[in-house]
């Protein structure tokens, strides 16, 4: 049975590809037959001539036999398919306009969807390269960073002491790893190398970090428990990416000595190429260092020994069979017990301990930071790209329908001449298939480019984004399948309808015989396209306007002509006693650069994604009864000239200036929100308050009030904020508070007000800074407006992509409408000719075509507006400064659609009005 099947298959294969051999075989067979018959005749005594003649006559027509036999072989349908493809390619090549538009439409639809769904796949669904990711759970949720003290309610971040307690007393976890919630800039230099130290990103991790995730080394070894002891010699692990890109895969790096933040360390190994840390984020860690090295590496104050400061995230691997719900209850209890045992928690807060709890969250995909941040945006983009795919499919369907109708005459003629219907439909199917395949291939290219563009928009300012830009194959497959189905169905449908036509129609002239309503499906598709386009346009308009509102609002500072330089003196090994000298030198040298008008420093600058806030006590203001609503405010340490440099207005009193030194009277400047919140209907000038409990209420005096400026969230009002001079340091009994107070003296931002283009000064500033201390790396430098702009990456991504999609949809609707109108005009040439001959003015004809366009687009608008209103309210939470029902945006979108419809109608309308009645009437 099997051998038979094999014979048959090989025969069919032969029939396809070894046609000549079969032809020769057949000829041999026929020749043999004829000679046998001739021989027999001769044996019966017939003349040789007659013998041959009789044999041939009885055999029949050899040519037609050969043809029939050949047709026999071509029964193998693949052969027919090849023919169809050749025919289809010829046809597509004959109407390049149609082909290009159809393929581009499909490519954009498929490409946009593949790009966005691939990103969603990576960001939202994919597990990181961990062993058995389903066993991993994070203790807690949220993105708290970087050091919290006190109670959290829903615990998500832990001190080292609490981590050790949880690790040792929770046997339900086979392993439990801790790592710093925030990443740290570290300076790295090869020992003995001539190069300067360069800034990298480091993460402090527990010794069992890599073994908890089940990761192996790419080269060398990863960290182990024995590396994470106070006595062990300091080591670090390097990421594959940095090893490749910065150290050219140099094998001597492994085991090599490095200076990290000035401390000697040995690199023991390289992580595998696909590993970028436990959190999917921009600028992931380059180096992993054991927690035990934190005290020597963190120059602005170690947190490791502070049991009350929480700065570590915990992920554990549950033993098989353990129930997360039960373990969660147990961990919650452990945290409460530990807190109770801690002496430094004030009596007033103790009743709150019973309310502290831990939520166990699946961590197979690591810490879901990006997932949380981008979930809404990606979901909306997915919806928008889905709409685009729908529009693209509608457009291709429309094009194919129009083409199918245009070819009706030809098809009907072919039917009349006896072409089998199956063959006609198969032919159309093949064409559709080819369009789909071409569109899919081009879509792949669009997807590649699209992913790059999206990443560039979404992570503006990032040095590296660990997201694969390769389109995900299942997604590509889905989008390609959808477009393939569309093109195949809508290619075959007209062929099917046409092939059922009465053959007699061909003789009467098919062109004349098309029923009036025959392009109703096309009109329906046009209206659908117009409606969907309106939805996208309105959404894009809202998002673009919202972005504009965000970027051009009153921030309370000036971005024009300002530069921000990010530095990290701690990285260069500056200790507290050397800071003052450094700041003086920086100010002096930077001021000397031509074009620099003023220079200031601060702990952080506005809209740089940093915010320090603490509880405060105000003199004469009673502490709130409920400890949960304690008094708190944001605060920043700033140098003299700070407000002038960033352009924040003084309301009353004075700015912080050169008079405010470590030794002078401790003062502070507050913003208007702070004044309103803590000194309602009072004059705040001369009043006192301080960080921490009531014993600090007299720490500093308010000497000035400045205008509100937004520092953190551009969508909300400015936070109540106070500003303190550098080096005016208070004494705290609590070690954690003391550490915070001291650490705040290390500046991270230098602000410069310059004349001329800020960008032009950048090389000179770098040079100056390198001249002051070559070991102090410039972490980043950008214009102030760039720093602000980076806050709106997601908004910009949404607005731009929605804009692209909206324009795309509009363009497609325009093409679709043009196709239908042009076809209608061609079809009605005769009718128009007769009208003109009977005296209809050309303007009537013009109006007729334009009117049709307006009716179709108008219907689309009428359907689209309620759809847009319904769907755009999903955008509400993302909009700033306007409502989702904004009538201006809505009418602009509708106007754009109608305008485009007019443009699409222009050419066909002109053609219709130019019809020559004589030519039209002679036309078949």
């Amino acid at each position: 049975m099997l051998s038979e099947w094999r014979n048959r298959t090989s025969l069919r294969f032969k029939a396809l590809f070894h046609r000549r051999q079969l032809d020769r075989d057949l000829e041999d067979e026929v020749a043999f037959h004829l000679s046998m018959a001739e021989q027999k005749n001769r044996a019966q005594g017939i003349s040789p001539e007659q013998s041959r003649h009789t044999a041939r006559r009885r055999f029949g027509n050899t040519t037609s036999l050969k043809e029939r036999s050949r047709e026999m072989w071509t029964l193998v349908s693949l052969e027919v398919l090849l023919q169809d493809i050749r025919f289809g390619a010829r046809k597509l090549g004959k109407s390049p306009g149609f082909t290009i538009v159809a393929v581009l439409t499909l490519a954009l639809g498929i490409g946009a969807n593949t790009a966005i769904f691939s990103l969603i796949h990576t960001v939202m669904m994919k597990s990181l390269p961990f062993a058995n990711p389903s066993e991993l759970y994070r203790l807690g949720e949220g993105a708290d960073c970087c050091a919290l003290d006190g109670l959290q309610g829903n615990f998500g971040i832990y001190s080292y002491a609490l981590y050790k307690q949880l690790r040792n007393s929770t046997p339900e976890f086979s392993k439990m790893a801790a790592f710093s919630g925030g990443l740290h800039l570290i300076s790295v230099r090869r020992t003995g190398g001539a190069g300067l130290s360069e800034p990298y990103v480091g993460e402090f991790v527990s010794g069992n970090y890599f073994s908890t995730f089940g990761l192996g080394a790419y080269a060398g070894r990863l960290l182990s428990e024995s590396d994470d002891q106070p006595s062990s010699s300091p080591v670090a692990v390097i990421s594959y990416r940095v090893w490749r890109e910065h150290f050219s895969l140099d094998p001597s790096v492994i085991g090599g000595s490095f200076l990290i933040n000035g401390q000697p360390l040995t690199i023991v190994g390289v992580t595998s190429p696909g590993f970028f840390g436990e959190t999917l984020r921009r600028d992931p860690p380059d180096f992993w260092v054991p927690l035990a090295s934190e005290p020597i590496l963190r120059l602005d104050g170690s947190l490791l020994a502070h049991s009350e400061l929480h700065w570590l995230y915990i992920i554990g691997r549950l033993k098989p069979g353990e129930k997360p719900g039960q373990v969660q209850a147990r961990v919650t209890l452990e945290v409460q017990q530990w807190l109770t045992s801690q002496g430094q928690i004030p009596e007033a807060y103790r009743p709150q301990i019973a309310k502290q709890h831990v939520t166990l969250t699946p961590a197979g995909a690591g810490v879901a930071r990006m997932r949380t941040a981008y979930a809404d945006g990606l979901r909306l983009l997915a919806a928008a790209s889905g709409l685009v795919l729908l529009i693209a499919c509608a457009n291709v369907a429309n094009l194919l329908l129009a083409q199918g109708t245009a070819q009706r005459a030809q098809t009907v003629m072919r039917v009349a001449l006896g072409a089998p219907r199956v063959r006609l439909i198969r032919q159309a199917l093949t064409e559709g298939l080819m369009l789909g395949v071409l569109g899919g291939a081009a879509g792949l290219a669009v997807a590649y480019a699209g992913t790059q563009i999206i990443l560039a928009l979404a992570f503006r300012g990032a040095h590296y984004v660990p997201i694969q830009t390769a389109p995900s194959l299942p997604v590509l497959g889905f989008a390609a399948l959808l477009s393939l189905l569309t093109s195949v169905i809508f290619a075959a449908a007209p062929a099917w309808i046409n092939s059922r036509a009465d053959a007699g129609e061909a003789l009467r002239g098919a062109q004349r015989n098309i029923r009036e309503g025959s392009n109703a499906p096309q009109k329906f598709l046009i209206v659908l396209q117009a409606a969907l386009s309106l939805v996208l346009l309105a959404g894009a308009g809202l998002l673009t306007e919202s972005l504009h509102n965000l970027e051009h609002q009153q921030f309370g500072f000036e971005t024009e002509g300002r530069l921000i330089v990010k530095v990290d003196p701690a990285l260069a090994g500056y200790t507290a006693d050397r800071l003052d000298g450094l700041y003086r030198l920086l100010k002096e040298r930077l001021r000397q650069i031509p074009g620099v008008q003023s220079v200031s420093f601060s702990l952080y600058s506005p809209m740089s994604d940093v915010n320090w806030s603490s509880g405060i006590s105000v003199e004469g203001r009673p502490a709130p009864a409920n400890p949960e609503d304690f008094d708190g405010a944001s605060w920043v340490r700033v140098s003299a000239d700070y407000f002038e440099t960033i352009g924040t207005r003084l309301v009353r009193g004075r700015f912080i200036d050169e008079r405010d030194t470590a030794g002078s009277r401790h003062i502070t400047v507050i913003n208007e929100s702070f004044a309103r919140m803590f000194f309602p209907k009072q004059d705040p000038l001369g009043k006192h308050f301080g960080l921490g409990d009531a014993s600090h209420a007299g720490d500093y005096e308010i000497v000035g009030i400045v205008a509100d400026a937004k520092y953190q969230d551009a969508r909300e009002a400015a936070y109540p904020t106070f500003f303190r001079p550098l080096f005016q340091t208070e004494k705290f009994t609590d070690a954690g508070e003391q550490s915070t107070e001291t650490r705040s003296n290390w500046i991270h931002d230098i602000e410069l007000r310059v004349s001329g283009r800020p960008q032009n000064l950048q090389p000179l500033i770098r040079q100056t800074l390198a001249g002051i201390d070559p070991n102090m790396p410039v972490v980043d430098m950008m214009t102030f407006s760039e720093q602000v702009t980076r806050n709106f990456n997601q908004d910009r991504l949404m607005a731009r992509l929605a804009g692209i999609f909206g324009l795309l949809a509009l363009g497609l609707a325009c093409i679709g409408l043009y196709g239908v109108l042009a076809y209608n005009v061609a079809r009605r040439t005769q009718e128009i000719g007769i009208r003109v001959a009977l005296g209809a003015p050309r303007s009537d004809i013009l109006q007729m075509v334009l009117g049709e366009a307006l009716i179709l687009a108008g219907l689309g608008v009428a359907i689209g507006i309620p759809c847009a209103l319904a769907s755009n309210h999903l955008l509400s939470s993302m909009l700033f400064g306007l409502k989702a029902t904004n009538p201006v945006v809505m009418s602009l979108a509708a106007a754009a659609l109608l305008l485009v419809a007019m443009v699409a109608a222009c050419f066909p309308a002109h053609k219709a009005s130019a019809v020559d009645p004589l030519v039209a009437l002679r036309h078949d």
């Binding site: 049975m1 038979e4 099947w5 014979n7 048959r8 025969l11 069919r12 029939a15 075989d25 057949l26 041999d28 067979e29 026929v30 043999f32 037959h33 000679s35 046998m36 018959a37 021989q39 009885r58 055999f59 029949g60 027509n61 050899t62 037609s64 036999l65 029939r68 036999s69 047709e71 026999m72 072989w73 029964l75 349908s77 199956v422």
Partner: protein, 113 residues
């Protein structure tokens, strides 16, 4: 995949197939032999256009009912010999049975008329 209808002269296609299968039931035979056998056994009642035989043979071969091999004829010439495959034999049995029932039924109808 639907096969295209042949035009085998006076014979219905199915009949020609049946005759070929029947002829080959006796053993391997070349095309000419099959034609001769049909002429002889039907005493020249069934007129087969001999050329039509070959597409039929090829079709049966493609459908896997026949297998073919090149060999030497009685007079030592190169000829293509066809023989029944196992599915060919099954097909012959089925068609014979069908034909019998059919002709029986037709005969009864004609008798009652």
């Amino acid at each position: 995949m639907k096969e295209k209808r042949e035009n085998p002269g006076d014979l219905l296609q199915g009949t020609l197939d049946l005759l070929i299968l029947k002829a080959l039931a006796r053993g391997a035979m070349h095309g000419y032999g099959v034609a001769e056998w049909i002429h002889q056994t039907s005493e020249d009642v069934l007129k087969v256009e001999e050329g039509a035989l070959y597409p039929a043979l090829h079709r049966l071969e493609l459908r896997g009912l026949l297998s073919a091999e090149w060999g030497a004829s009685d007079n030592n010439r190169r000829a293509k010999f066809y023989s029944l495959t196992s599915s060919g034999k099954k097909q012959l049995a089925q068609e014979t049975e069908f034909w019998r029932r059919m002709s029986g039924a037709v005969a009864r109808i004609l008798q009652t008329a």
